[in-house]
């Protein structure tokens, strides 16, 4: 990672809550990480974690509203070597106690996305969404 990654920087963008938006979420993240000069390997991991979190919003918070016109916001901030990624949505409230990856001996694919997020990021925190937001997820990673 270059020293330029230490630069303080914040960008955010909104996306329709649809699976078809996930490609745009990844493109946005790649563009921001390019500006931060984050190396390719870490960039790939971060993009995966962010895309999995965005996917969880589509898949779970909007499970019953596949045709919603609501938007989710992804905010990427880098300050003092700490990368913070915020997700805001107005879907069904998330119960943090139920967000976990499945047991290791239960061979089903479900929960793998959450496992990826936990493997890649240093911290995963659900905060109270301030109006108009319902859910506010924050992922952090020390660079």
């Amino acid at each position: 990672m270059s020293e330029l990654a230490h630069t303080n920087h914040t960008e955010k963008k909104d996306f329709l809550v649809r699976s078809s938006s996930l490609k745009d979420v990844r493109s946005f993240c790649r563009e921001v990480f390019e500006k931060l000069h984050i190396d390719q390997s870490l960039k790939d991991e971060l993009v995966l974690a962010i895309a999995e979190a965005a996917q969880n919003i589509v898949k779970h918070a909007y499970k019953d509203s596949p045709d919603t016109e609501d938007k989710m916001v992804v905010q990427i901030s880098c300050k003092e070597n700490k990368l913070q990624i915020g997700f805001y949505d107005m879907g069904t409230p998330v119960d943090p106690g139920k967000v976990k990856h499945r047991e290791i001996d239960n061979v089903k694919p479900g929960g793998l996305g959450t496992f990826f997020i936990q493997q890649i990021m240093d911290a995963v925190e659900f905060k109270d969404g301030k109006k108009p937001w319902i859910n506010h997820l924050v992922l952090t990673k020390q660079l």
Binding site: S19, S20, L22, K23, R26, S41, D44, E45, V47, L48, A51, E52, Q55, V58, K59, H101, I104, V107, K108, P109, G110, L112, G113, F115, F116, Q119
Partner: protein
């Protein structure tokens, strides 16, 4: 995501291309599972896949499980670096 299917006797080589995420996982599923369902030995080439997330891994797991039920083979023959990395992470979990 695009795909191409090569037929060699009863073997089917499926080449996937592009990015495999939740948006296209069903397309991948509908490409692979019917071949296994029909009893073909399926070899999956992922050398041109630039990105794969947990949705893509789910398709691989479902394909493997179905092949076991159908007593046929499902194998990965080539994988790109990004896919190998995601598979390595998934192996810690599976």
């Amino acid at each position: 995501m695009t795909y191409k299917i090569e037929e060699i006797d009863t073997k089917r080589i499926v080449h996937l291309n592009g990015e495999i995420d939740m948006d296209v996982a069903d397309k991948a599923r509908q490409t692979i599972l019917p071949l296994i369902e029909a009893g073909h030995e399926v070899h999956l080439n992922l050398s041109k896949v630039e990105y794969m997330d947990s949705s893509g891994i789910s398709v691989l797991i479902e394909s493997k499980k179905l092949s076991e039920q159908k007593n046929t083979k499902f194998e990965l023959v080539e994988v790109s670096k990004p896919v190998e990395k995601v598979l390595a992470m998934a192996r810690k979990f599976l």
